[in-house]
Symmetry: C2
Subunit: 596 residues, 2 copies
């Protein structure tokens, strides 16, 4: 078998039993791997109506066939489970070095099921797999957990772990690997915590065999050249990291400020990639085999660590009215240490700030800590309290939707399907609005990054205020992204590469002869199995929507002034293009085409 | 005090006493720091005729005023001592993260003197300094030493250590930091070993104050932009690492093959930066605050680690007739683990191969291991044996000069002042030949990188075969390089930046108002104190020469065919430009100008 290692490691935590199963090669190729294969296998095994934090939910850790190969950025893995935050299928993606190491140990997938009766971690060293006691690391932050484990596991092992937030079942808990890489969104860390599983360490010494190594070499060379020559992947991201977006997005008037109350930040320069690079950057911190190297490692005062990413800078910065990069770096640091998602964490503080300033949250609840927009220290302090469920932080720890709902005003939560929206105001980017509303895991920018054509002009520049053609673009972006997430590559490659490039890579790795169209079809298949899971979980077309503010209140000032998201005009066309009924349900005819 | 921390940590290993002294600010500013200040202080304290491996020699670890500041690449430190390999002043430079950490701990300089009566290491955590027993790490390789120490020193400490080669006083022993960064040349690791000092760990939490933070911010921004926009620092080095040079140097017919017997390698493509990137690169591995990020981290089979650099690829590759990148990566790995200099190690194997093929070394000496040009496995095996002083490796462990001399044919050693020449045949690059011959630490490419103007065309393209103006260029390159090495920056910045840029940075950091001319004058001052030390050590103008082969035997084929190094035509002009007598001794007049 090429590309795949052919083995699934199943760990039943209730029984304390580890077994190795053969990978179903036909199913693997049909659903590619990662997000596709993981979702298919998960849906085969777990009821869509399962309680996400119950023993019956499972957690799939899934690599792609390109993970651990010489393809550019070939180092990612996905976490598939039912999300405790959204109730949808969750598939959170992470980079770093843990994913390839799992392949090198000989496994494509780990299936975690049941629940241990005490805290444990799993130690993998090639064929050797042990479930070990984790009493000594339970409660520890991510860096300390990693350091302690490194002393008792094989040299060169990679560590994936949850922080205290995952243990405490926070619905914004992430799964962290290599200290500061995160499978961040949808609360997947809480599922791991609910199983009393603290960490998985892995060390592998095997190779990933590919179908045609010589041909692959040339394809990789060509793809690397495209990445180098592209303005975003060859210049913007390498130079400034994802923070390069701060000025670009703000200049377009779609940089949400104060919980989306406005969309242009007059102090954005202080949060820019330029500021980060000149004043706080210690080093670039690239993932496995990445020619882009957008990862950053920054320092302020005695705090240092990976990040911050653009979305993080926005969430703790503009969205909380804060322009102090030092405060952002500190909040980001605590997210990584406590294991929480930065977008949901920052946005939840922003929502709490609006609830406070509008009189819903009272001073008496706050133990003396400020909850005013623009308070640098408050942002850092609430991040810690959320991650630790301390005081009012306990109420924030399950995200902005549940917080706002508890005050009877869920409309203050800027979420889709209860998951916080990222750093782009869709009122000034119509395609992005449709993509937000239809994302299969709720509020998300990496399920179809319409910022690429509508703002950055890649692969071509679209008018961001118009509707024409946008539904079709969203479908293509969603499908291609699903394929990339299934393959094991990083989405950022798509700034420079197209479906044909992914086909060339996958063909030479797994021995297929797919066309660009086949790649998009495989992506569409994945998109539809996610949709079908969500529908069966009770999440129907009525939830393909956006917060009221974005649909009804025009942006008040700046370069996107006067716009709302015209979602209702786009949705019917989108459903039709997807071959779904007006009810948003895939038709049998389309399912037949997709082989579902 | 700005830029400097104002403290010198003196450790007397004989007495086991650590003291902190105030930095002499006037002397610091006159000699800048790093290579300059270190050499001045060393020369004040140690006799030039000291036996390098005796208790009376000292080892100075010296940062620059820009080390630990926001300046691009501001993370380097220098090791100053008398070299056991060359008998000259040694000043070996290293990057990574150890240097800035020393500044953060509050010290500009560590002076190591005397000799411990048992193996020890030094633990530094801000004001706390301890000399600790090192029995448990003596004999261990670099990565294992680092891992063991990390369990017993403060979290986030940086580790500098010698490998087994330094303990065994190999004259090619390096001092390693951050596992795979090396103060590599001139055998400085043996001096550390001779003091029974295995390692120095450091953790610091202080800041480096600068004279004008706001102005510095703009200067750093401008310098970063220059680095980004330059073809070498913005494209070539980031994309391919220093290995980008393999094809360029080979196409010019100055890539030495088989111990400089020829200078064009028909299999160079297999050793190219392109091959390294597409087939072996795991990730880029940048130093502190480096926008270039030329560092590589590569893997072959079960061997992985930092590097290889261009010089290393050449030394174990072309110079040994080897074109297997896997073998180069393995040899490089063992150099890092055992703590030896890759240039001297590879060149010594190359010299041994020629000695073997010409009948001087006999099979009976080799314990069955091949010593033929082009043998991949032999290159890896001899590297290990050299580093461990095993079998015939013991005879190779002090470098090619002593090896060849022991057979009565020192002319087979491609060295200047007993230090191995790097990866450029000076017969096809006349300025580089003069620079090699006059380098103050023997065979070296980073004392004045004439490859920049003569091959790469930076800052302008010179005809590499002509002599006109070359002596002047060499002087400028040597002086500017001395300043850069004193400042704490990486030499690679000079592809994109000039003396004026360095003046701007240093002025805003330490509060001076130096011009570009002042920068070059400071560099010349440093060059001359090194020269004066060497003269007092008995190394006079007669040693400003090159191996006979390069002076007398024309290159036989390829793009540089027919050339020899015309050193005798260049030297008198060089001495005159330097204000030295025909005997190569600085005149009193020039010393007065330089304030010496």
């Amino acid at each position: 078998m090429y590309g795949y290692q052919g083995q699934v490691l199943r760990v039943n935590l209730t029984k304390g039993v580890c077994t190795v199963e053969a990978l179903d090669e036909a199913m693997a190729k049909k659903f590619v791997g990662g997000r596709g294969l993981g979702t298919k296998m998960f849906a085969n095994e777990v009821s869509p109506t399962v309680d996400a934090l119950s023993e019956e939910n499972k957690l799939f850790i899934v690599t792609g066939p390109l993970t651990g190969t010489p393809t550019p950025t070939g180092g990612r893995y996905m976490v598939i489970t039912k999300s405790p935050l959204t109730g949808t299928i969750a598939s959170s993606n992470s980079g770093g070095y843990w994913g390839p190491e799992l392949k090198f140990a000989g496994y494509d997938i780990i299936v975690l099921e049941g629940k241990s009766n005490k805290p444990v971690y799993i130690m993998i060293e090639d064929d050797k797999v042990e479930i070990r006691d984790a009493a000594h690391i339970w409660g520890k932050v991510v860096s300390e957990t990693t350091e302690i484990l490194k002393k008792e596991i094989p040299e060169k092992s990679r560590v994936m772990t949850i922080g205290p937030a995952g243990e405490k079942l926070s619905k914004m808990a992430a799964i962290m690997n290599d200290k500061d890489r995160a499978a961040g969104r949808s609360g997947v860390g809480a599922v791991m915590g609910s199983k009393n599983l603290k960490a998985i360490t892995v060390r592998g010494t095997k190779k990933v065999e590919v179908a045609d190594a010589e041909a692959l070499k040339q394809v990789v060379k060509d793809c690397n050249a495209k990445i180098r020559e592209n303005g975003v992947t060859g210049q913007g991201l390498p130079t400034y990291g994802t923070a390069v977006l701060v000025n670009i997005i703000n200049e377009n008037g779609v940089f949400p400020v104060n919980n989306f109350q406005s969309s242009h930040f007059d102090r954005a320069e202080e949060l820019s990639g330029e500021t980060l690079t000149e004043q706080y950057l210690v080093r670039k911190d690239p993932c496995y085999r990445c020619p882009i190297a957008c990862g950053r490692y920054c320092k302020v005062d005695d705090i240092e660590g990976g990040g911050p990413e653009y979305e993080t800078i926005w969430a703790f910065g503009g969205d909380c009215g804060v322009s102090d990069m030092g405060a952002v770096i500190k909040a980001n640091y605590w997210c990584n240490e406590l294991g929480i998602d930065t977008i949901t964490a920052g946005s939840t503080i922003a929502a709490a700030m609006e609830l406070y300033e509008k009189g819903y949250i009272k001073d008496s609840e706050l133990d003396g800590v400020s909850l005013k927009f623009g308070d640098n220290d408050a942002v850092v302090e609430w991040t810690k309290r959320m991650g630790l469920r301390e005081g009012f932080g306990n109420k924030m720890a399950d995200g902005s939707y549940r917080l706002a709902e508890s005050y009877g005003v869920p409309e203050f939560s800027m979420t889709v399907k209860k998951q916080e929206l990222p750093a782009y105001d869709p009122r000034g980017i119509q395609g992005q609005g449709l993509q937000y509303a239809t994302s299969n895991r709720g509020g998300c920018h990496v399920r179809g990054y319409m910022i690429s054509p509508e703002i950055l002009g890649l692969p071509e520049k679209l008018d961001r205020f118009t509707l024409e053609g946008k539904a079709g673009w969203v479908k293509i972006f969603q499908d291609l992204t699903a394929f990339i997430d299934a393959s094991g590559l990083c989405l950022f490659t798509s700034f420079a590469m197209g479906a044909g490039d992914y086909a060339s890579m996958i063909n030479n790795v797994i021995g297929t002869d797919w066309s660009a169209e086949d790649v998009l079809l495989a992506g569409e298949r994945i998109w539809n199995i996610e949709r079908l899971f969500n529908l069966a979980a009770g999440i129907d077309a009525s939830q393909d929507t956006l917060p009221k503010r974005l649909l009804e209140d025009p942006i008040e000032a700046g370069p996107s002034e006067g716009n709302v998201t015209r979602l209702s005009e786009l949705l019917p066309e989108y459903y039709e293009l997807r071959g779904w009924g007006a009810d948003g349900i895939p038709t049998q005819a389309r399912k037949d085409i997709l082989g579902l």
